[in-house]
Assembly symmetry: C2
Homo-oligomer: 110 residues x 2
DNA sequence: TAGGTAGTTGGCATTTTAGCCAAATAGCCA
DNA sequence: TGGCTATTTGGCTAAAATGCCAACTACCTA
């Protein structure tokens, strides 16, 4: 693998890795609707606020969200608007799997 | 977070996590061009064949690739055709970051 | 059948993640 | 200033991911 390509693939992988967690996907989906402060997200997620803060930090480091401090709250929003469409392919992977799983159950007579 | 939504987010996260590795992204890009046996991929990647085999197994379990044994070789191919387009958004995240990074260097006089 | 190639799996050490608590920081208001 | 709320950070433990080697399986060919 050429060094240049490796660097590029690692950059992509870092972005994907930052998204690859249920809680962080939840945050992304919520931020698609509107910006949110950490306390709102924490209430919705139901984990410790320090945990949520660390998830947000992962997303921020990956370049997926931006933060904006106002008063004693910090509001987060998406940095890129396209995340929603991004998932068409993930969905099709999941649907394919579901379809074939159903077919295989069918085949053994369930 | 509602249980049902959590299940769905975890399913998505599993697919993303499977993709979130430079070597596995390399494999996906190569399989977009044509199917490949493990030995070809191993030669291109330059890692131990057992390592490559395990990466392929991760992709297979996530529903991203299919395998097909012929003779004593195993050929892998993508299960869904859309992976290439999938990355438009990842790219825009990276480009945004690069742009702002350049701007911040500019700002401090570099 | 023996030997070789291709691939998978088990085992292990190392590194990375995740999530909680506790402590520290920052801004608001009385 | 003192106290309160919001958030981040450090520290810790448990769990998961990586990647190598070695052992094992499968298939082909002489």
């Amino acid at each position: 693998m050429l060094e240049q390509r490796k660097v590029y693939l690692e950059a992509r992988a870092r972005v994907l890795k930052a998204m690859a967690h249920a809680t962080r996907l939840f945050i992304i989906e919520e931020l698609e609707k509107e910006e949110r402060c950490v306390c709102d997200l924490t209430a919705m997620i139901g984990a410790d606020i320090s945990t949520v803060s660390k998830h947000l930090s992962v997303l921020k480091q990956a370049g997926i969200v931006l933060d904006d401090k106002r008063g004693n709250q910090v509001f987060y929003r998406l940095r890129v608007p396209c995340i929603l469409n991004f998932f068409g392919c993930v969905e099709s992977v999941l649907q394919n799997r579901a379809k074939e799983h159903a077919a295989s159950l069918e085949a053994v007579g369930h």
